[in-house]
Amino acid sequence: MTEPLLCVRDLRVGFVTETGRVQAADGVSFDVAPGEVLAIVGESGSGKSVTAQTIIGLTRSPNSRIAGSVRLRGAELIDAGDDELRKVRGEQIGMVFQDPMTSFNPVYRVGRQIVEAVRAHRRDIGNSEAREIAVEMLDSVGIPDPAQRIDDYPHEFSGGMRQRAMIAMALALEPELLIADEPTTALDVTVQAQILALLERLNRERGLATILITHDLGVVAEVADRVLVMYAGRVVEQGTLDEIFYDPQHPYTWGLLGSLTRIDRDRPERLPQISGAPPSLQSLPQGCPFRPRCPHEFDRCPELPGLDARLAEAPAHLDRCWLEPEEKRELRQVEGQIGLEAPK
């Protein structure tokens, strides 16, 4: 295996609030290889965005408590100084956010914001040269007539165009890694498909490694190489795309897969869902955090399972569930497909 580009080990991010400490990410570990697309999935509050933002230090604040290790090509980022971190942001790791409507500063022209990103890192590049880079980038992400549109204000762009422009800005300095935090969530479905196709093309053409954060398994299925499933601040399952989709080991993953609507199956009367709500991060249940919502709970569950390989044939497929693999393969069959039974 090639040396990983990004290596996250035992990352813990907590926030001190008035009502107590919230552990938003707890012991998260994963690697991203060069050119790989890693998807992080989970519902709201599972810690996926916090994890991603912590990689480039965006969660640093007087109220946050961050521990663990994030190494980019061997360089530690968690305790890096502000200046060191600033050089990583934008230059080595680009980031794209969920809502393209609010992610651009409304008072500056799109081009100027891209130029600003370029010149923040490359003092030797003049304004006009940076502008040429911006035009080129806008062109490469599919903005029509980029030399003209570069002088538009963000509100003159459509949502899809803004997200394209965000990606152009994040990639202007050709970083090796792109973190895309729910890049398609705020867009309508046809535009979503275009943005995903764009990400896929960039990954293919530039060998761009990508961390794609999403709650949409449909998105994952289209672009990811590997998948990380998070629940209540922890990684509960990790594996290749095929392993996660065809041999999922954690009941929470079954639930996510079971609640996908699929065009190739009969439409169910009611969309299946995972009953209950995610636990409060301030009062997690003892042991497995998914226990209160899991119909397959048994007497070992009050003890937290480690994130371990439980399948002899797939040493890189990790999960946090005490059930035996054979048992799991039986239990996850709900009406002929993978799913999570309704609670008894």
Partner: protein, 318 residues
């Protein structure tokens, strides 16, 4: 832009008309405000009053009187009841003092208001922020007339550090001009420094939570640049609004300060005219003040379009 200006001009005429009618009516329902009687003196003979009424047209129907007065306002020969001096000339005489007072105070309060607001927001929750908050609230809470009296007492009468106000023409002696205005400037500015720093602080804290500020950090800008380029500009909009209103209102006469420091500006003239219920100067000063309020608000709207390109003047209504 042209449409915008025309719309604003029409609006301005409407505002000035409404203000003048109100002022005129209020004056006419105030008890004891019969100008003829006041001009004739305490124990005046009825014939004298009748002559005055005849001469000034005080017996005419109100709309007629109003029109006569407005005609005089616009032809520049409005004469005060008391002393029969030309009102416009007096106002023009007072303008340099009033404008000097307002401009100087505005420079001080904008500078310190923005500086303190910025420091407060950047260090929100810290010691500096708390200290500045206390200062700001203290500044807002101190009444101007009280503060002026304290300053005058300690810095002028007891220690003679500063002169006691009184306006010196800039053209006569710029140093004395500033020296005489320093106390009025500071007194006037303190209140606004408090207000502006509080407003800027809260508006900056709002903007700091915006997604585009996170984007700015994520692309590797320095914290200073994030603050000055991405937070400040968007936070200044409420400050611009406030400034337009405050500065416009003050140009119409900072009545208390001018009276206490005897600056002989428009405000002091307004104060004297109010005391003697002298309608012509009151009317003229009110119109002059309203004019500046409307004018400054128009400038504020133009500034908005500059600060926020989403606002397009003239076309925004379509």
């Amino acid at each position: 832009m042209a449409r915008f200006v025309v719309r604003r001009l029409i609006g301005m005429v409407a505002v000035l008309f409404a203000v003048s009618v109100l002022t005129f009516l209020v004056f006419n329902v105030i008890p004891n405000s019969d100008p003829a009687q006041r001009m004739a003196g305490r124990a005046a003979k009825p014939e004298l009053i009748a002559t005055i009424n005849e001469e000034w047209g005080f017996e005419d129907p109100l709309p007629q009187q109003y029109l006569t007065m407005m005609g005089k306002v616009f032809s520049g020969d409005l004469v005060s009841y008391k002393g029969r001096e030309n009102v416009e000339e007096r106002i023009v005489e007072g303008i340099p003092a009033t404008v000097s007072l307002c401009l100087g105070a505005a420079v001080i309060w904008l500078f310190f208001g923005i500086l303190f607001g910025y420091l407060s927001a950047v260090r929100a929750g810290g010691l500096l922020d708390r200290g500045l908050t206390v200062l700001a609230v203290t500044g807002i809470s101190m009444p101007v007339f009280w503060l002026a009296a304290i300053f005058l007492n300690y810095l002028t009468y007891k220690t003679e550090i500063f002169p006691s106000g009184e306006y010196v023409e800039f053209t006569t002696d710029p140093l004395e001009w500033a020296n005489h205005l320093i106390l009025p400037w500071i007194t006037l500015a303190i209140l606004y420094v408090g207000f502006y720093s509080r407003v800027l602080r809260s508006s900056m804290l709002d903007v700091m939570n915006e997604d585009y500020v996170r984007t700015a950090r994520a692309k590797g800008l320095s914290e200073r640049r994030v603050m000055s380029r991405h937070v400040m500009r968007n936070s200044l909009i409420p400050i611009v609004t406030l400034f337009g209103l405050d500065f416009g209102a003050l140009l119409g006469g900072a009545i208390l300060i001018e009276a206490i420091f005897s600056l002989n500006g428009v405000g002091q003239y307004a104060y004297e005219s109010l005391q003697s219920l002298d309608l012509p100067p009151i009317m003229a000063i009110v119109l002059y003040g309203a004019f500046f309020v409307v004018l400054l608000n128009t400038l504020v709207d133009i500034a908005y379009a500059y600060l926020d390109p989403r606002i397009r003047l003239g076309t925004s209504a379509q």
